[in-house]
């Protein structure tokens, strides 16, 4: 399938040929239904390498569902996802090798210490020995959890748990980061730090972050994807979104697009 566009570009043009080269993440017609309830319906978007995209939507709009499908945690009912040129359903291992994922609930084992948790995830990602120690040092510094390493994860405050979760996603320096509400539970100073961290990732990393805090998108992202009731209702750079909606703020655009 994937080599057909190259062989005969006239017949099946644009999306997939382009996906193989330019886009880091390419989502086509993604649908997830739970019996009669459609969590997401025909979601399509693509993210170029090095781009930071904000995934915006009210609670229950389908942000987390989309992210879970993107990372291969749950299957889609229909549609396809390509990450770094690999199909999530056909090549899950290849996709998972280049993704760092922070789920909605940071996946932490309360009975392990923060350091043990990091070592475990490093092992899961196939990082070994001296390299693992260096990687753990690096992410611990970036997520600023150095003083909490010997504490049991279950005893950490929500903010620290969130930061350990971010550290886990950064382990192994994956090309693509999928962050589901990365600043939830953090205090204002930490929020600023995490936003700075995400901004610094731009260029080398492709980041998709979900949030319902609108200023976060304006501050960290180049592009916004607005999702409402399982459908993409807007997909553009923040400047152009503002321009096309008559210079309204992102908040007003968000409210008008998602209110029905």
């Amino acid at each position: 399938m994937s080599d057909r566009p190259a062989a005969d570009p006239a017949v099946s043009p644009a999306p997939h040929a382009a996906a193989a080269t330019a886009f880091m993440i390419d989502v086509r017609g993604l649908t997830k239904r739970y019996r009669d309830l459609a969590a997401i319906e025909d979601v399509s978007f693509s993210v170029a390498a090095g781009e930071i995209v904000g995934f915006l939507g009210p609670n229950g709009a389908g942000k987390s569902t989309t992210m879970r499908i993107l990372t291969g945690c749950i299957p889609a009912t229909a549609g396809s996802v390509r990450v770094n040129g690999f199909d999530v359903f056909e090549d899950p291992h290849q996709v998972k090798r280049c993704i760092g994922y922070l789920p909605e609930v940071p996946p932490l084992y309360p009975d392990l210490t923060a350091l043990e948790q990091l070592q475990f995830v490093a092992a899961l990602k196939g990082i070994r020995g001296r390299q693992a120690r260096a990687e753990i040092d690096r992410v611990v510094q970036r997520a600023a959890v150095g003083d909490q390493l010997s504490r049991l994860v279950g005893n950490l405050s929500k903010g620290y748990r969130q930061r350990v979760g971010i550290a886990l996603a950064l382990l192994g320096d994956p090309k693509v980061l999928i962050l589901d509400e990365p600043t939830v539970g953090l205090d204002p100073k930490q929020i600023g730090e995490v936003r700075g961290l995400i901004k610094n990732l731009a260029g080398d990393h492709t980041v998709v972050l979900s949030t319902h805090i609108l200023p976060e998108v304006t501050m960290t992202c180049q592009r916004a994807l607005i999702i409402a009731a399982g459908r993409i209702v807007a997909d553009d750079t923040i400047d152009r979104l503002a321009a096309s909606h008559g210079g309204k703020s992102l908040e007003e655009i968000f409210l008008s697009l998602t209110s029905h």
């Binding site: 945690c73 749950i74 909605e104 084992y109 009975d111 392990l112 043990e116 092992a123 899961l124 886990l168």
Partner: protein, 265 residues
């Protein structure tokens, strides 16, 4: 393989940093020791009785293997395994799903076999620890007892094969427990179903023996109880080993399907 070991190591770390492993092993030792003591007491009473009634031929038949160790292993420790192992394994997969930490395993390049294998290895290590605890009873007898005519109190090959049989039964219980842990998010449900399944395979023998013909034979063969006997009597049986191995393999295969279905269902 390294990923598998990392998962097993993490599970064992959780068993040993929480009170789980200590509570289970302590209670297991306590209960097994009470049974051991009661068998020993009976043994002493019997030998006194045989002395009093002047029946040396009965006294000679009295030995620790048949009267203490075998009934302890086959009659009681096995039953403890049946109840304890589903409790020990219930959290392995059910908890991961409930607390959503399973997303970590599903979003990293880990194959379902590595998950199932790692989790099972940790459970089998616990079985090994409990089987090792059972070694203290024959060791006590060896230290304190003495046999007829200067020989040792125990036939060690019988003891060791009994322990092997015990280990195989434990490994089977752990596999069933892991399987039931994979089918639900609720740990209690996992443990109860595990116990029921094991109990079913235990009582199957009684049912099979009550029936005639092929059906009876099949049910008797399917029962776990049927296959520990030769080990308890000190006979190494390849057929029984194959029975336990295929039981475990089937459970692990089904668990693998369950884990796989988490991302494909």
């Amino acid at each position: 393989m390294r990923t598998l070991l990392a998962i097993a190591r993490k599970e064992l770390k959780v068993y040993f940093t929480t009170p789980t492993a200590y509570v289970v092993c302590a209670l297991f030792t306590l209960v097994a020791s009470v049974f051991f003591w009661s068998f020993l007491k009976r043994f002493m009473l019997d030998s006194q009785l045989f002395l009093e009634v002047q029946r040396p031929e009965l006294l000679e038949q009295l030995n620790f293997n048949d009267r203490v160790i075998t009934p302890l292993y086959v009659g009681y420790v096995q039953i403890i395994f049946l109840f304890v192992l589903p409790l020990l394994t219930m959290r392995l997969l059910a908890e991961e799903r409930r607390t959503r930490t399973v997303e970590l395993l599903l979003s990293t390049p880990v194959s379902p076999w590595q998950i199932v294998g790692g989790k099972y290895l940790s459970a089998v290590t616990m079985v090994l620890a409990m089987t090792a605890i059972c070694l203290i009873y024959p060791l006590l007898l060896e230290l304190a007892g003495h046999g007829v005519g200067g020989s040792g109190p125990l036939d060690w090959s019988t003891v060791l094969l009994g322990l092997l049989g015990l280990f195989l039964v434990g490994a089977t219980c752990a596999a069933v427990g892991l399987l039931t842990s994979s089918i639900t998010e609720n740990q209690i449900v996992a443990a109860v179903i595990g116990m029921m399944v094991l109990l079913f395979f235990w009582v199957l023998r009684g049912v099979g023996e009550g029936l005639e013909g092929t059906l009876g034979a099949v049910l008797t063969y399917a029962s776990i109880l049927t296959h520990i006997e030769s080990y308890a009597r000190g006979i190494f049986s390849l057929g029984d080993l194959i029975y336990f191995a295929s039981f475990v393999a089937l459970c692990l295969f089904l668990t693998h399907r369950m884990v796989e279905s988490m991302r494909w269902a």
